[in-house]
Amino acid sequence: MGRKLLLEHINVPGINTLEVYRQKGGYRSVEKALKMTPEEIVEEVKKSGLRGRGGAGFPTGMKWSFLAKPEGVPRYLVCNADESEPGTFKDRYLMTYIPHALIEGMIVSSFALGAKTSYIYVRGEMMPQIRILERAIAEAKNAGFLGKNILGTGYDLELYVQPGGGAYICGEETALLESLEGKRGNPRIKPPFPAIAGLYGCPTVVNNVESIAAVVPIINDGGDEYAKIGIGRSTGTKLISASGNLVRPGVYEIELGLPVEEFIYSDEYCGGIANGKRLKATVAGGSSVPVLPANLTLKLANGDPRLMSYESLSEGGFATGTMMGSGGFIAFDEDQCMVRNTWNFSRFYHHESCGQCSPCREGTGWMEKVLHRLEYGHGKMSDIDLLVDVSKKIEGNTICPLGDAAAWPVASAIRHFRDEFEWHVKEPLKSLDTNYGLANYAEPIAKAAITTEN
């Protein structure tokens, strides 16, 4: 059994209440942290080696130390709880079952950063989670962990939950800040980074839910203890959201460094591929990371086992590797159509593009249409190279990483499953999957795409 730092008490009845959460040692880190200096807390987080759990993997302590501290200007901590990357649902799980873990982390982190007002930006669709968090915040405030003069230390903190309006792009930190200011979620050009000019132009740190929750065990046990868990620069534990054709999909906390094979097949985790099928491919870190065929999921190019760590998953670059991302692990069984799934992801990115940058606004729609006509039997052989070409022209040419996120799944699917794309052109009737209930659902788009011949 791997060590659990975040989900240790997940099955304890009532752990969502302050009373039970405190019985299990909750809010110790607040009592401890408020006796430390903010610099000491930042130092512990640096020592822990914690890397941002939202997807980018940037060292959290270093991010904190970049925060500008001009006199007389407020600073903000904003928690990014706008989880909506396909395949990723760990933050929702954590907030639903252990809301106080996030609130406790917010208090310690806000104190470390000198923030007097902090916001948890939750995607609007998560109304039940918003209600859960608001109830938990009220409990924490009644107990003196929030509000004026926390635990008699003279530190004041107000914590609010902000609902989004339904837009994946608001998971990008500057789009999130725009949204929090009551605007459309259009990402800002960086620099300046939020650490210099963030919310209302003030110094701001934006951290993922899991990163903030991880600050609690780091303060309780010390950064050095946290760094002992994991492997190499991938320290600590990570929540992995497992979905797709697995026997037991769900949210698992793993120690970084666990072999991917063990994660998929062992009974402690996913229990293998559902219905006795074979594994065909995986997406290891949420839909935006490159897809990998089964053999490269389990083994590195040199034959060594691939591990669940930032370094091992990206081993070999995008030719034979992928990324840890947000830890959204999707498994595809042997019956799944990679063209259809790539089309589905492409539709997602087209739908969610904010429209600010031309390569992303136009390119994502173009890729969706071409993939759709391939899937529906109207594709041409040249479409495959066209897709690769369009994906290259989006990648790196946009303000925010949504363009890259839209390009990588398409480029990697063609890299590893090109024969399947070709088969769709050669055998359009055989390859069309009539097993779906909505075969006609998007057919008008295909016809439009054909008449406009890109």
Binding site: G87, G124, P128, G165, G182, S287, Q336, N341, F345, L438
Partner: protein
Amino acid sequence: MLKVEEQQPVEFSSALLEKFDELVKRYPEGKQKSALLPVLHETQAELGWLSPAAMDKVAAYLDILPIEVYEVASFYTMYFLKPQGKYMLEVCRTGPCCLVGAEKLMGHIEKTLGVKEGEVTADGLFSWRGVECLAACGFGPVLQIGPEYTFYENLDEQKVDKLIEDLRNK
């Protein structure tokens, strides 16, 4: 969306205005525009959708231009710019949910309700639509129902039939 005939005056209840007042307090002085998204959620929960007149009223309350409200309301997918059924069934149609049968489920809902995506049933009770990732990929297929956004996981056709039947009899 700004047709003149839709410009019927709206009234906000005092309870709604009280909620607005609470929300605005969460932000620094002069940054009341930050309350726009939550204020629109509250308005939609009370009125069912966001008419131009309602958005104008929100703009006046927050002391911002009407266009600042329209551009936000039209950007985010959760705001309805035309009336919907009393219950809006939103089915996740993104990759992981489709791997476990979401598309079939959408076909079933279309057949059961007898209306296409985005349309309202004759009795005004239901509309449905496919939405992008609802962040519950391990428990798919999933759907949620506004305005409370109650959430249902691990669905199949029988469970959805029961759900629709229960809402009809409510």
